[in-house]
Structures are given as structure tokens and as C-alpha cells.
């Protein structure tokens, strides 16, 4: 079946690629060791967590190296088949569930990011949570959390994907509610859990739908079940699926992504999730939990591509949700005083960018944004944690307890500024290369309106980050960072540290710490910050479109080359004996999503996407917008917060329109009120009352009528049938039985041995009868 053999190369593989399934297994084992033996270990289990994440990182690094070799070993336009290994998990009737790994560019890039950030966060946590009362449990949950994410990333099938997804949901609940003694924290954990679960229903529905819709096709063409992600991808692009089915499935799956990735209107859990310890926020909001939704969309991209007809329309469900999320979350970030909440809304907004990119056919820029965003957002969160840990006495309130910290915390300040610039998308920081590409490609693919939304979002991002930076690091020192001693904690995040002894213990290594005065954090906090800042600065260069093709490494390594793939033989599960041929070099045929005419037996795994050519003029426009945002915000912040300009101070109280807007934002668009007061109370209140009324009046009425009728009928039955017919029979049979009982009574000797003898002799007689009948 190989038609043009000369263009094909045998793809290289290697130990790391073949054993990539070990990457999630190692931390999973680590979890069990920590939870079972952690408290007896010298470092309370944190060393196991750190060690397992470090091994995962090494494995992921090896996998990445070998994947790059594999890509290089392929021909120019050859489809680089993923490294697939599957095992039978269990079988019931005709349904076979396999479990396995499928390593391709997307999996590799996310694996590396997740393992890297998890390792740094664990290192950071050893310092940040020192002396915490549930230190061991924290590390256990953190390790399992990473294991869940990694399992989801390597998953070959939707079953394992679902498993990883749910493990993360559970662990996020445990981690957000880590300090559950405070009611607010456990409420936040519950809220996160239930909000995400609302979306999770969509994943379950979507996975089931895809299985039943695609199973027949995938079994016939590829020899895999309808749970296989490869199978589903190929099926979605085959032109086979019914458009309604695939549309409904992709809507269901996207609802799951909305819940997990905090998209509008289910984003409300994300800022509340800040109740967890800062390392958790950092891990959740940079590379794991919230990225899972984006990863779901990019992983099953062919389904969404076909379902929403991505290249054929100027707006669809994904882009609309993404676009709304970018703007509303960015607007919310302006009115927050809690530094972590600013970052949380910033995460929501950035996830909106990723979704927008995916929805508009900018797959690679969106995936690249996952990559770069993970570094700078983790750095920002850890920076915020560093401030609260060492300078503001566990407060996260920028207005009350921060300000002027750039001199006392030079490392935190530098890394923060680098990451902020990366987040804003300033050239040449990493965010520029990913975010600008998303905006550019969204416009290129015909989504002009959403490109404008993206630019507005970039402006707002620059402005609110400048505000946060100003409040934190510039101006006068206020509150705790000015050295004021707080006897009482005024912050919800503090309770776990209310034993001052632990605080003093881990302050001991700081060089010259006054009593709770602001100072720079220890090396276990600053080392991750510095590493992340270096990556925030430089990781964009891995796919620097402006510098030409040679710089587009991530594109070469990660983007599947969407050529027509031929099936050699229906391989059994576990054998990816799929060979590829390059597309016929005919121009202008874009009939199938693969970008070329598909032969009948041909199968393709990824849609052909185009990339917008880079133009400096467009980049200058967006850079200009970003700088404008920074400058305006700086000016405004200086006037408002430092000089207390009379025209600005209290403006929101004086101007009616602004006050209305401010109230809308400070109340988070009343979405929480909607969910808690209207929906939850409607279910708990009126709907329950209505159900009760219905129960009492309608159902009981019917029951009563039925009961009366039955009573009348049963009276008749009693007098005639029961008394005469039935009782007559019973009485007579009773008499008969009594007579027989009198005869048989001696047999009931009460001796067990006699019963046994009777039993066995009866059995012997029965056996004899059987033998006689059968012979």
C-alpha cells in the first residue's frame, strides 16, 4: 500500500519514547509512598514528592529529546506517527477497554511543562509550607495532582483521559481546601469542585457519544476502539460523521473545557480557588488544572474542527466563549485588591486567548501559549507567594499591605517584572511570540471581530498588570510591608500560619530579619522564581516567527503534519503500523480537512491549518496598544495611588455611570449571586416547595382516590372471595396438613444425624432414578 516509498523514512524511536507511560506512574507511586509512610520519613514525605517529580522531569526531558530525533528522522512532509503502546485493561461483552500512551508533539510539550513546573512548585513548597500541620498530606495531594495531569497528557484513549481529569478534580478540591479549618476555604474548595463537576458532565456525555458514534468506523479502518483518541480524530476528519452528532459531542466536550479552564460563565470558581496555598494556585493556574480544558480541545481538535466547522465560519461557540472570557476577566482584574485574584483573573483571561486561538484555527499558537503562559504565570504566582511569605506577613492585599517592595525584594521584583512584561506580550519576552501569533492568526482565519477583542484584551492585560505592579512594588510601603506589626490576621489565607513559631523557624535563615519586617525570601523560593523568569524571558525564542522559518522550532516539533496517511493493514491495538505518504502536490484542492484529496482508504489524523504570515506592521500595532496600556495605567496609578489626585480619588462614588460599572465589576457581574441566590436557592427553595406541593396535593390526591376505590373493592373481595373461597381452601388444606403432620411427626426426631441420613438416602434414590432414566 505504500505508494511513494522514496519519500518515506523510518521514524526513529527510543527507550524514553517507548516508556513515556512511566512519567505519570512515578508520581502516582510517590503519592502512595507519601501517604503511607510520609510522616515517618525525615523530611515528612516532601523528599519523595520532589524526587518523583524530578524523575518525571528527567523522563519527560528524555522523551522530548527522542521525540525531536524522531521528527528529524522523518521526511519533509511526512506524518510523524505518535508512539503508541496500549494494554488491555478489561473486557466486558464485546467492549474492550484499553489503556495506554500516545506520545506526539502536543503530549511532549505539555509533559515537559507540567513536570518542570511541578518540580519547581514542590521545591518552593518545602519552604513555603514549612511547619504546616498537614505538610505530608499537602505533598501527597500535590504529587497525585501532577500524576493526574501527566496521565491525562500521555493518555491514548478517552478513558485514561477521563481518569486523569477526575484525579485532578479531586486533588484540586483537597489542595484548595488545604486549610479547611477556615470556613471560607472549604467553601471555596466545594465551589471549585462542584463548578468543575458541572462541566465534567459534558466530558462524560461527550466521551460516550464519541464512542458510540465512532466505534464502528474506527474498528473497521484502524482496528482500535471508539475510545482511542487517534481513532476518534481520524473518524472526525473522515467526512463520515453525522454533522449533528459531532456538533453535539463537541459542544458537550467544550462545556467540560469551560468548567475546567474557567471560561465564562463557569469561571467563578477560579478566583475563589485562591484560598489554597500559593504554590497550589501557581500549579493549578499555570500548567495543570486549568490547562486541562485547553488541552482537551487541542487533543481532540479534529472533533471540534469538524463539529464547529472552524475554518468555514466567522464565529463559533469556542471563539465566542473565549472572546467573552478575555474581556470580562480582564475587566474584573482591575477592581481586585488581592494580588492573587488579579493573577487569577489574568489566568482566566489568558485561557480565553488559548480558547479563542483554538476556536479560530490557530492551533499551534494556542498550544505555544500554553507553554509560555505556564512559565510566566507560575513565576507571577510564586512571586506573589514570595511577597506574602517574606514581606507582607501572609497578606495578599495590595492596597493595605504592599507597596515600595522593589528595594527590599530585588529578586522577586526583577522576576515579577520580567514575567509581567511577558504576560503583557512585550517584545522580545515569551508572551509576545505566542499571544501575538494567536491574535494574528485569528484575524488571518477570518475572525476579524475576535482579533479586535484580542487586541482590546491585550490593552487591558497591560493596564491591570501595570496597576498591580505599581501597587505592589512602587509607591509608599503600607501596612505589613511597612513593618507594621499585626497581632491579628486580617486575611483569609493566613490561618494555617497562626502558630508564630513556625514562622520564626523558617525566617531563621534570612540574613537580617527584623521582627516580621519585609525581606527577600530564601533560596528555595527564589531559585524557582529565577528559573521561571529566565524561561519567561527566553522560551518565546523557541517559536520566534518574526525571525523566520528557522526559528519556528516548536512548529516543527509539535504541529502534526497533516498529510494523508495510508493504512497498511488493520493493525491490532498496540501496533501503530500506520505509514504515511506525502500529499499529492496538487494545489487548490481543499476538499478534505487534510488539505489534500483523500484517497478512499486514506486516513488523516490532524486537520491542515494555515499560518498567518508575520508582518511587523501588525506586531507594531499590538505592541503599540500594549505600551499605551502600560503608559496610561502607570499614569493613572501614579495619580490615584501616590498623588491622590482629587479628580480621580473617589471618582467611582461621584459619577453615576462609573459607579454602576464599578459595582458590576466588584460584584463579579453578579454571576456568583446568580448561581448561589437564584439557581441554588431556586432548587433549594421554590422548586423544592413546588415539588412538595405537587407531592402533597396532586400525587397524594391521586393516591387517596385510588385508596378509596381500593377499599371499596377490597371490602367486597373480603366478604366473598376471601372468606369463602380462599379461607375455605386454606382451612381444608390446614386440616389435611395437620393430619399428615400427625403421621409424619415421628420423623422430626430433632436428631441432626437422622436428618442427614434421610437427606443422603433421598439424594441416593434420586441419583439412582436419574441413572435409570438416562440409561
Amino acid at each position: 500500500m505504500i505508494r511513494s516509498a522514496e519519500a518515506l523514512q523510518t521514524l526513529s524511536s527510543g527507550w524514553f519514547l517507548e516508556h513515556a507511560w512511566l512519567i505519570p506512574i512515578v508520581p502516582a507511586i510517590g503519592f502512595f509512598i507519601i501517604i503511607l509512610f510520609g510522616k515517618k520519613l525525615p523530611m515528612k514525605g516532601s523528599e519523595i514528592g520532589l524526587l518523583s517529580m524530578l524523575s518525571s522531569l528527567v523522563l519527560a526531558g528524555g522523551t522530548a529529546m527522542q521525540w525531536i530525533d524522531r521528527v528529524n528522522s522523518g521526511a519533509e512532509a511526512q506524518f510523524i506517527a505518535p508512539v503508541v503502546r496500549t494494554w488491555n485493561w478489561w473486557q466486558i461483552g464485546g467492549m474492550k477497554f484499553t489503556i495506554g500512551q500516545s506520545i506526539d508533539g502536543l503530549a511532549v510539550i505539555v509533559l515537559v511543562v507540567v513536570a518542570f513546573i511541578s518540580t519547581l512548585v514542590q521545591l518552593y513548597s518545602t519552604e513555603y509550607l514549612k511547619g504546616d500541620r498537614r505538610y505530608t498530606h499537602f505533598f501527597a495531594a500535590l504529587t497525585l495532582f501532577s500524576a493526574g495531569m501527566l496521565a491525562m497528557v500521555v493518555a491514548e484513549d478517552t478513558i485514561l483521559f477521563l481518569l486523569g481529569w477526575e484525579i485532578m478534580g479531586l486533588c484540586s478540591f483537597m489542595l484548595i481546601g488545604h486549610w479547611w479549618e477556615d470556613g471560607a476555604n472549604s467553601r471555596a474548595a466545594l465551589k471549585a469542585f462542584f463548578t468543575v463537576r458541572t462541566g465534567d458532565m459534558g466530558l462524560l456525555v461527550g466521551v460516550a457519544m464519541l464512542y458510540f458514534a465512532s466505534n464502528e468506523w474506527t474498528t473497521e479502518h484502524l482496528g482500535v476502539s471508539g475510545f482511542s483518541i487517534r481513532g476518534i480524530s481520524a473518524w472526525a476528519l473522515s467526512g463520515e460523521p453525522n454533522s449533528t452528532v459531532i456538533l453535539v459531542a463537541s459542544v458537550a466536550l467544550f462545556i467540560a473545557a469551560i468548567g475546567k479552564s474557567g471560561q465564562f460563565p463557569l469561571h467563578t470558581w477560579l478566583p475563589d480557588a485562591m484560598a489554597g496555598p500559593t504554590p497550589v494556585s501557581s500549579l493549578l493556574h499555570s500548567s495543570t488544572m486549568v490547562v486541562a480544558g485547553v488541552f482537551l480541545v487541542s487533543r481532540l481538535y479534529p472533533v471540534f474542527f469538524t463539529g464547529f466547522d472552524i475554518l468555514g465560519s466567522g464565529g463559533n461557540f469556542i471563539t465566542i466563549i473565549g472572546g467573552i472570557t478575555i474581556v470580562i476577566a480582564a475587566a474584573l482584574a482591575f477592581v481586585q485588591n488581592d494580588i492573587k485574584k488579579v493573577l487569577a483573573y489574568s489566568t482566566v483571561s489568558q485561557l480565553g486567548y488559548m480558547m479563542l486561538g483554538l476556536g479560530a484555527g490557530a492551533w499551534l499558537p494556542a498550544v505555544f501559549h500554553i507553554f509560555t503562559h505556564a512559565f510566566f504565570k507560575a513565576c507571577l504566582f510564586l512571586g506573589a507567594g514570595s511577597i506574602s511569605h517574606s514581606a507582607s506577613h501572609h497578606s495578599f492585599d495590595m492596597k493595605k499591605d504592599m507597596g515600595g517592595l522593589r528595594k527590599v525584594m530585588p529578586i522577586t521584583f526583577t522576576t515579577w517584572v520580567i514575567s509581567t512584561l511577558a504576560l503583557c506580550g512585550v517584545f522580545p519576552f515569551s508572551g509576545f511570540f505566542s499571544k501575538d501569533e494567536i491574535i494574528d492568526n485569528v484575524g488571518h482565519n477570518g475572525y476579524q471581530l475576535f482579533m479586535i477583542i484580542g487586541l482590546i484584551g491585550a490593552f487591558m492585560t497591560a493596564a491591570y498588570m501595570t496597576r498591580a505592579t505599581y501597587l505592589t512594588f512602587f509607591g509608599e510601603a503600607r501596612g505589613a510591608s511597612a513593618g507594621e506589626h499585626h497581632d491579628e490576621h486580617h486575611d483569609a489565607h493566613a490561618p494555617a500560619h497562626d502558630d508564630h513559631d513556625s514562622h520564626d523557624v523558617h525566617d531563621a535563615h534570612a540574613t537580617d530579619h527584623a521582627d516580621h519586617g519585609p525581606h527577600e525570601s530564601g533560596w528555595r523560593i527564589t531559585l524557582p522564581l529565577v528559573l521561571l523568569a529566565v524561561l519567561a524571558l527566553s522560551s518565546g525564542l523557541l517559536n520566534a516567527t518574526p525571525f523566520g522559518e528557522k526559528w519556528e522550532r516548536i512548529k516543527t516539533w509539535v504541529e502534526p503534519r497533516a498529510e494523508v496517511v495510508m493504512e497498511t493493514a488493520p493493525g491490532g491495538p498496540g501496533h501503530s503500523n500506520v505509514l504515511s505518504i506525502p500529499a499529492a502536490a496538487e494545489e487548490g484542492h481543499h476538499d478534505s480537512p487534510c488539505g489534500s484529496e483523500t484517497p478512499e482508504e486514506g486516513v488523516c489524523y490532524a486537520p491542515q491549518l494555515q499560518h498567518a504570515p508575520f508582518k511587523w506592521s501588525k506586531a507594531m500595532l499590538s505592541l503599540g496598544i500594549v505600551f499605551l496600556g502600560i503608559a496610561l495605567s502607570w499614569l493613572f496609578s501614579t495619580l490615584l495611588y501616590t498623588r491622590k489626585d482629587k479628580r480621580l480619588v473617589g471618582l467611582t462614588e461621584r459619577n453615576g455611570v462609573l459607579r454602576a460599572g464599578y459595582n458590576l465589576l466588584i460584584n463579579k457581574y453578579y454571576l456568583d449571586a446568580l448561581y448561589e441566590n437564584v439557581i441554588v436557592r431556586a432548587i433549594a427553595g421554590p422548586i423544592a416547595a413546588a415539588a412538595y406541593w405537587f407531592n402533597q396535593n396532586v400525587l397524594d390526591g391521586i393516591l387517596h382516590a385510588v385508596a378509596r376505590a381500593s377499599r371499596a373493592f377490597s371490602g367486597w373481595v373480603y366478604r366473598n372471595i376471601d372468606q369463602r373461597v380462599v379461607d375455605g381452601t386454606v382451612n381444608n388444606s390446614g386440616k389435611a396438613t395437620k393430619g399428615a403432620g400427625g403421621v409424619l411427626a415421628p420423623v422430626q426426631s430433632g436428631k441432626v444425624s437422622q436428618y442427614g441420613a434421610l437427606l443422603f438416602s433421598a439424594a441416593a434414590v434420586a441419583a439412582l432414578v436419574l441413572v435409570i432414566i438416562n440409561s
Binding site: 426426631s749 430433632g750 436428631k751 441432626v752 444425624s753 442427614g756 443422603f760
Partner: protein, 99 residues
């Protein structure tokens, strides 16, 4: 190898078990005899499964072993309680059920 050798052995075991159940007065020994009967049945199952080259018999035998263990547990528990209450486990004394 012939199955009938196994079957003979099983039949012998079965008979010993039946004898024990009928003739013994001691409740514990009766329980042990029941075990013999069960194991005779097991032997039959395994022998036939072996001869017919199927797995079903083996599966059944495993189930029976598990259930027999539970049965002995319950039986011994009963015997223990009876002994506590009456200081005897002779079956002849347990004839309250006489009709």
C-alpha cells in the same frame, strides 16, 4: 490419564464424608465431614474440567473453596456459641426441634 481414577477417589471421599455426617455425634467432626464432601465435589469438577479441557470446572472449584471457607467459619461460630450456652457439642443433645 483416565478420569475414573479421580472419580473413584472422589466417590470414596464422598462416602467417608457422608458416613461422618451421619455417624458422628461431635458437631466439629460433622463439619469436617462436610468439608470432605465438598472437596470430593471439587475433585470431580477439576477432574472433568481437566478431561474436557475447559476452564469452567476450575472456576467452580475456586468458588466452592471460597464458599466452603465461609461455611466453616459460620459453622464453627455456631458450634462455639452452642458450647458456651450448653457446655456440650454433642449433636444428640440438640434435639429441641423434635416434632
Amino acid at each position: 490419564m483416565l478420569v475414573n481414577q479421580f472419580l473413584f477417589l472422589a466417590a470414596l471421599l464422598f462416602c467417608i464424608g457422608v458416613y461422618g455426617v451421619i455417624a458422628r455425634k461431635n458437631a466439629v467432626l460433622v463439619l469436617m465431614s462436610i468439608e470432605l464432601i465438598l472437596n470430593a465435589v471439587n475433585l470431580n469438577f477439576v477432574a472433568f474440567a481437566f478431561a474436557m479441557e475447559t476452564q469452567d470446572g476450575h472456576t467452580f472449584a475456586l468458588y466452592i473453596i471460597a464458599i466452603a471457607a465461609a461455611e466453616v467459619g459460620v459453622g464453627l461460630g455456631l458450634v462455639l456459641l452452642i458450647f458456651r450456652n450448653r457446655r456440650t457439642i454433642s449433636l444428640d443433645d440438640l434435639s429441641e426441634m423434635k416434632g
